[in-house]
């Protein structure tokens, strides 16, 4: 059922065209990576600031509150290009171990948000003004960096898995 849907998606006119385009496909890939570069820095800076590794002249609370919306915008842009890449080779990605790992890591990012948002990140707005960050938010920040590094690694590895035989590209 799912596989049939993925085969249908990748064979719709738009995605079949994008997949076979010598220019458009690499351009989408490049834009995906550009969005990651531009907005990945915001994730890193938020976490470094929670870890206390950014000079104190920039209050962690200001960084966390100020970058919340820009990070969401960045995630939507990067994910949109990512979704386009997925749709071009949906069936192949379904079988790709690293793609599955990447999805699992995204799920863990969501769990991380549920667990730590109310503790480290959100509370920091009021709590960590001048004093050093508490252990809980430091743990949250370290885990967040690890998860995103894992997503980056899994994402890069997707391209190295050879396509299995018998894919239903039209």
């Amino acid at each position: 059922m799912l596989l049939a849907l993925l085969q249908w998606i990748q064979n719709t006119g738009v995605f079949a065209y994008l997949r076979s385009s010598a220019y458009l496909y690499p351009v989408i890939l490049a834009l995906h990576l550009s969005a990651i570069s531009l907005f990945g820095g915001m994730i890193v800076v938020t976490n470094l600031s929670l870890l206390g590794w950014i000079p104190r002249q920039i209050a962690p609370a200001a960084v966390i509150d100020g970058l919340r919306v820009p990070k969401r915008v960045g995630l939507i842009i990067a994910a949109t290009f990512g979704l386009l890449l997925f749709c071009c080779k949906a069936e192949q990605y379904y079988y790709n171990t690293y793609f599955r790992a990447k999805l699992l890591l995204f799920a863990l990012v969501a769990v991380h948000a549920l667990v730590f948002r109310s503790r480290g990140y959100k509370r920091s707005s009021e709590a960590i003004q001048a004093q050093p960050p508490n252990p809980q938010s430091r743990l949250g920040a370290a885990l967040s960096l690890l998860l995103w590094a894992g997503i980056l690694t899994a994402g890069r590895a997707i391209g190295y898995v050879p396509a299995p035989p018998g894919l239903h590209f039209l």
Binding site: L33, S37, L38, M42, V44, A62, P70, A149, R156
Partner: protein
């Protein structure tokens, strides 16, 4: 005596080096972008561009060093084909320009007293340069800029 490049022998090692390369430039480009977005007036209005630039300077330098070092490692796998790749050469020229720009004009644009207009133009040039370099990195694989 010929010594085999270890990265030629192991795809796993090659991917690991690539991931460090990506992580390095995400750090450098992403941190620079924070300053650029601030210069454009899009984020963190309560912080001055100068505060953000000095808070991120070490991380930008660190990210650049990691990505340049790992870049040399990736290059070492097949120097001949990189040298004959137009896209790679364009990337290297733009990278030199971007680094020079970052440590001269960009550094001055965050100082107090700089007109907002000059800050915004500098931020746009910086963003375009760095995005273009990242894109070139992808385009090297198919030598996409090789016209004709």
């Amino acid at each position: 005596m010929a010594v085999e490049n270890p990265l030629n022998l192991s795809e796993f090692d090659y991917i690991v080096v690539e991931c460090f390369h990506i992580a390095g430039f995400v750090l450098a480009v992403g941190m620079t972008a924070i300053v650029d977005f601030r210069l454009l007036g899009l984020i963190l209005p309560k912080q001055t561009p100068q505060q953000l630039a000095s808070a991120t300077a070490l991380w930008v330098a660190g990210g650049l060093l990691i990505s340049i070092f790992t870049g040399f490692m990736l290059f070492s796998v097949d120097p001949d084909s990189y040298f004959s790749n137009v896209t790679f050469l364009v990337k290297m020229i733009c990278l030199c320009v971007a680094i020079a720009f970052n440590y001269t004009i960009h550094r001055k644009a965050v100082l107090p007293g700089v007109t907002p207009r000059r800050g915004k133009i500098t931020a746009c040039i910086s963003l375009v340069l760095w995005i273009w370099i990242v894109c070139c990195g992808i385009f090297i694989a198919n030598n996409l800029l090789n016209i004709g």
